[in-house]
């Protein structure tokens, strides 16, 4: 049995250390917000946070994640009120919605490290997350919106 700490909760899972983390998250822990897109780390749909970094869970082994802090889209905020989640909703970003868990998890790392990104920063940082529906302009707008929300929230403190 392997213990995975996901969204601040320990899960005891009957998982081989070589199992892709994505399998453990979805099939064993029942957290299906993270998606399988390509299985080869090229689409970004499977992005989760491992100790705060945006790893691709389709190629990350359970063994690497054991004992570390994993955060999935379900755990990004307690009440779905992370600025990015709010902005994604306000900007009406998703079409089919499939890629957006990974999009938001990648964007969260961008905003943590660059709270005021330019269009070029966003394009560069998000180019590893692909969207078949082509919602890229709205993704960019939502990231700007989330950054602005965060700035306003900080300035009012």
């Amino acid at each position: 049995m392997i213990t995975l700490n996901i969204n601040q909760k320990d899960y005891q899972l009957d998982a081989d250390p070589d199992m892709p983390l994505l399998w453990a998250i979805r099939d064993l822990a029942g957290l299906t917000g993270t998606k399988f897109g390509c299985g080869v780390a090229q689409c970004g749909a499977c992005v989760v946070h491992l100790n705060g970094e945006a790893v691709r869970s389709c190629v990350t082994k359970v063994g690497r994640a054991a004992g570390q802090k994993i955060v999935t889209i379900e755990g990004l905020s307690q009440n779905n009120d992370h600025p990015l989640q709010v902005a994604w909703n306000e900007a009406n970003v998703p079409q089919c919605g499939y890629c957006h868990s990974g999009q938001i998890m990648s964007a969260a790392v961008l905003l943590r490290e660059n709270p005021n990104p330019t269009d070029e920063d966003i394009d560069m940082a998000m180019s590893g997350n692909i969207c078949r529906c082509g919602t890229y302009p709205r993704i960019r707008a939502a990231i700007h919106l989330a950054a602005e929300m965060h700035r306003k929230a900080n300035s009012s403190k």
């Binding site: 970094e53 945006a54 790893v55 560069m124 940082a125």
Partner: protein, 208 residues
């Protein structure tokens, strides 16, 4: 007659002494010792042997498994045709990537199984932005000069350069993931050429 013979003998002995001294001096100039952790690195200068060895080293350093992570720009290269890495991850300040595309986010400690998956190594990264250690586009002359310049080679001393051939990321080139070609010679042959090049004086091939 006797005086001439005596004079000849004296001249001969002095000459031998002078020649002998010159030989010792020349020998000392071409032979030096260094020390690191008690192990002696013996440099015996041999420009021809050194250059011949570097020409072998150069073939490996220009192969995709090495050059792809020593690009001239800030995006790593990919594949046997050295195209720009898909998704355009960037070097970043420390060479570890940026934001959600840090190298180790996709490149695991070991190779991911299957074709078109990320190869792996515990130390997957590019050189840092302030010392890019570019291989792409370098001539053999340029690269040889760069590799021994401590202002361009990661501040490596001679012994550290020799040890670098045993670095885990260097050795990783010979354990690529599925579908990726090996460097053009065995690791043992490369290491021998590398050490030979350095210990014979680290000469650069002629040219620009």
């Amino acid at each position: 007659m006797r005086n001439r013979k005596r004079a000849s003998h004296l001249v001969s002995g002095r000459t031998v002494g002078i020649i002998g001294s010159l030989l010792v001096a020349v020998g000392l100039l071409g032979f030096s010792l260094d020390k690191h952790e008690g192990k002696k690195i013996i440099i015996v200068k041999d420009s021809i042997g050194s250059v011949a060895a570097f020409k072998q080293v150069y073939k490996v350093l220009q192969s995709p498994r090495c050059m792809n992570c020593h690009p001239s720009g800030d995006i790593p290269l990919q594949g046997d045709d050295n195209h720009l890495h898909a998704m355009s991850p960037r070097r970043g300040t420390d060479g570890m990537g940026m934001y959600a595309m840090k190298c180790s986010n996709c490149h695991q400690p070991t190779n991911a199984p299957g074709l078109h998956t990320p190869p792996g190594n515990p130390k997957w990264h590019l050189p840092p932005a302030d010392m890019k250690m570019v291989f792409q586009g370098r001539t053999a002359h340029q690269l040889a000069k760069q590799l021994i310049d401590q202002n361009q080679n990661g501040h490596k001393s001679m012994d550290q350069l020799i040890a670098h051939a045993s670095d885990t990321l260097v050795k990783g080139a010979w354990h690529p993931s599925e579908g990726r070609t090996l460097p053009p010679m065995s690791y043992a042959a490369f290491k021998k050429a590398w050490v030979t090049w350095l210990t014979k004086g680290a000469y650069a091939p002629a040219g620009k």
